[in-house]
Symmetry: none
Subunit: 184 residues, 2 copies
DNA sequence: TCTCCTCGTTCGGTTTGACGAACGCATGAC
DNA sequence: GTCATGCGTTCGTCAAACCGAACGAGGAGA
């Protein structure tokens, strides 16, 4: 099942999550309260860390413990909006539309966002391969990569790359949406 | 966030999974290729196992690694509209609430469902490990595992095991929701 | 009863992971 | 130029994780 050893998996995950936070090896070691020599060896896939060590790192990285022992990430695969299959329920009065099938190896964190009219909320580019899914639950939104914003109403769905600068603007009071952050 | 230490979590998980398989401590140690003294101390929450040791145990127990380190999941979790830890943006008038962080190795398919009042939509049990996330966008719903249905209004979020029979009932015309099917 | 087996725990000895100091290498201030 | 700061790596020391052996407890069978 698993080709790569857990140690390599951890080494890759540590490096990936540390890059995501944009902190140095020494800084992360400080935050986690471990010797930077230990962390250096771990990122080199040399060594066999104890649970306490890994736990401290997971806390410092602000990720669930198990994310560090994830199987390695697979190459980037993006599913564009509209590629989902529409599935009709066998029972009447009920429909289910597949908005986006999850690519293998991707992680999707589920958020609920709300906004009020005003200046747009500018989001910096996330790590490469990030995709954002937005489904409006209330009010109207204007969202998307800079220069390619689209306007969305209740029930509308959009997905766009999150690894470029992008914005959210609430156009009506009490605007809400479901935001799914997808990391590959 | 986590009250119990990772070591206790592991100790409990080891005991639970071993009981599930119905094997003795010595037998499990044999299968995992570790000394039974080591395993004995781990189940007593004494010690600080290395990743290799834990990995061998996870393989021998035939469970994903994360099952040994993640605290047990609660059956049904509801986050009411406005509840949850909302993170305010640096730019005002914008909040983001993390509903569910994606577990490693999981796949999440994103659906938008609509329903009309009438008989409930009964869903059969999906494959083991499936979790469903539901966030209501419009109207009111009653949903959840059979006998544990909860009523949800706009903005409410619930997640529950999908590997048991469960139902969705729309209580108002034009009810809508985002459904995320999570497969481990 | 006695024997034999397996259970889980406890006890030294060895291996090794974690630590801290020192290293070489960059970059920036003066 | 020199100095200072921070980076990531390497090395020697020490604590501890892991191991194997021995232990007492319980059960099955002759």
């Amino acid at each position: 099942m698993n080709r790569t050893s857990p140690l390599e998996t951890i080494a890759i995950a540590l490096r990936r999550e540390r890059d995501r936070l944009g902190v140095s090896l020494a800084e992360l070691a400080r935050r986690a309260g471990i010797a930077k020599s230990t962390l250096s060896q771990l990122e080199a896939a040399a060594g066999n860390p104890s649970v306490e060590t890994l736990w401290a790192l997971a806390v410092a990285l602000d990720v669930p413990f198990s994310r560090l022992v994830d199987p390695p990430t697979r190459p980037v695969r993006v599913i564009r909006a509209g590629e989902g299959h529409a599935i009709a329920s066998d029972q009447a009065r009920f429909t289910s539309t597949l908005l986006a099938a999850c690519p293998p190896g991707a992680r999707r964190d589920l958020h609920h966002i709300t906004g009020e009219p005003g200046p747009p909320r500018a989001a910096h580019a996330h790590i490469r391969g990030t995709t954002e899914h937005l489904l409006v639950t209330a009010g109207r939104w204007q969202a998307g990569p800079e220069g390619e914003e689209v306007e969305l109403g209740p029930g509308d769905y959009a997905c766009f790359p999150g690894d470029r600068p992008h914005r959210y603007t609430a156009l009506e009071p009490g605007a809400g949406a479901v935001l799914v952050m997808e990391y590959v």
